[in-house]
């Protein structure tokens, strides 16, 4: 297995199948937290950390606990619990070890529990990197890379959107389109631009 596969996964999750703009995962926070650049990018960094780690943990649970005992139907409940407890755990650790970091990321961490992007990537990993109940070649590494790529794509979309929205403050927008509707319309245009990546030959 050569290295290019992982680059392909990253490019594909960041640009082609961007988690927000083409899979619609993590849309709620995308609309909610993208008003300013600094919080938006901080949220993105927190999400990237959690998606990467959650991909690793849920893969291990799925492969070594759920599959051997034929408990695949407990996937939803176990994954969401893992994500929730991991987020909680990270919050406690950061709060104790680095109050400075906590001030930047802390408030976003609870939001991440119900962030579709995190749970979505764990489900996607098991859908895509398991074939008929068996992991495909290098399944774990691919899952982690996809987790990271999902977070990176999320951060990129957040960064771009927050930049636009900061400028939008000064624009004259019809009253009924203010805030949420205009964000969606801009997201639509961004998504259209990202469509240019599809069919991208790697």
């Amino acid at each position: 297995m050569d290295f290019s596969v992982y680059i392909t996964i990253i490019i594909s999750t960041v640009f082609i199948n961007n988690f927000i703009l083409s899979r619609f995962l993590g849309l709620c926070s995308f609309i909610g937290v993208s008003k300013q650049t600094v919080p938006a990018v901080s949220m993105g960094a927190a999400v990237t950390f959690v998606t990467t780690m959650a991909s690793l943990i849920t893969w291990l649970i799925y492969n070594y606990i759920l599959i051997p005992f034929h408990l695949e139907y407990l996937r939803t409940i176990s994954f969401i619990l893992v994500v929730a407890s991991f987020v909680q755990f990270t919050e406690i650790i950061i709060q104790k070890k680095s109050p400075a970091l906590y001030r930047i990321f802390g408030i976003y961490l609870p939001l991440i529990t119900v962030n579709c992007a995190v749970f979505g990537v764990t489900v996607l990993n098991t859908d895509v990197f398991f074939l008929a109940g068996k992991p495909v070649d290098y399944s774990l590494l691919k899952s982690i890379v996809q987790g990271f790529g999902a977070g990176a794509g999320y951060t990129l979309a957040m960064f771009l959107m927050s930049g636009i929205r900061e400028r939008l403050e000064f624009a004259e927008i019809p009253r009924s389109l203010k805030d949420i509707p205009i964000t969606f319309i801009i997201a639509s245009l961004m998504s259209l631009a990202f469509l240019g990546f599809s069919g991208f030959k790697i």
Binding site: F24, I31, T76, C116, F119, P181, L192
Partner: protein
């Protein structure tokens, strides 16, 4: 009368999709055809009603600090039940909704209602609230998916509308979904502000 009020508010005044902007990921992702929209709406309503009743029943017995994990477990249970039943009885629909059925668990609408409503009110009121929210979510989904299916695929419920109409692919892809919901929320804002 009070019950009816709880029911009606979810359908229009506090419509989860258009007014509260909750649960948007599945709304946009599965709204490529009306059938998908109905399927997702019904599944989410089932989860909403089931988990709201349950949360409302156990609300006094759960310590406040662990209530969120408890709610999540309850919701995840109902989601898995819905998922299994859909796989068994509507396999084609279950396949076309794919990962978005398990994703109902992170639908902010469901957890939001558990936290904001059914953890505070008795079961009967919670049922009406959940039904109203579910219906509001479903009609929003049907509207969005109808617009996208007609414009993007030239069909409605899988039936061809006009042979000569060349549908713009754009509407069935991601940008079309975002544009549709943006304009719809804008339109609804406009209607409500005029009244």
């Amino acid at each position: 009368m009070k019950m009816l009020g709880e029911f009606v508010k979810g359908v229009w005044r506090e419509n989860p999709t258009f007014r509260l902007a909750l649960g948007l990921c599945p709304t946009l992702a599965v709204s490529t055809s009306v059938i998908n929209g109905i399927g997702m709406g019904v599944a989410a309503t089932f989860v909403l009603v089931g988990s709201n009743i349950f949360v409302s029943i156990i609300r006094s017995k759960i310590p406040n600090k662990v209530r969120i994990p408890c709610f999540i477990v309850v919701i995840a249970t109902f989601v898995t039940i819905a998922d299994l039943f859909m796989k068994a009885y509507t396999p084609a629909l279950s396949r076309s909704l794919g990962m978005f059925v398990p994703l109902i668990v992170v639908n902010c609408m469901v957890l939001g209602r558990a936290e904001a409503f059914s953890s505070k009110y008795p079961p009967l009121r919670s049922i009406f609230d959940a039904l109203g929210m579910g219906l509001g979510f479903t009609w929003a989904l049907i509207l969005i998916s109808a617009i996208r299916e007609v414009l993007g695929n030239g069909t409605i419920m899988g039936v061809l509308i006009n042979k000569n109409f060349q549908p713009p692919l754009f509407m069935i892809l991601a940008p079309g979904a975002l544009l549709t919901i943006g304009l719809l929320i804008g339109l609804i804002n406009y209607i409500t502000s005029r009244r």
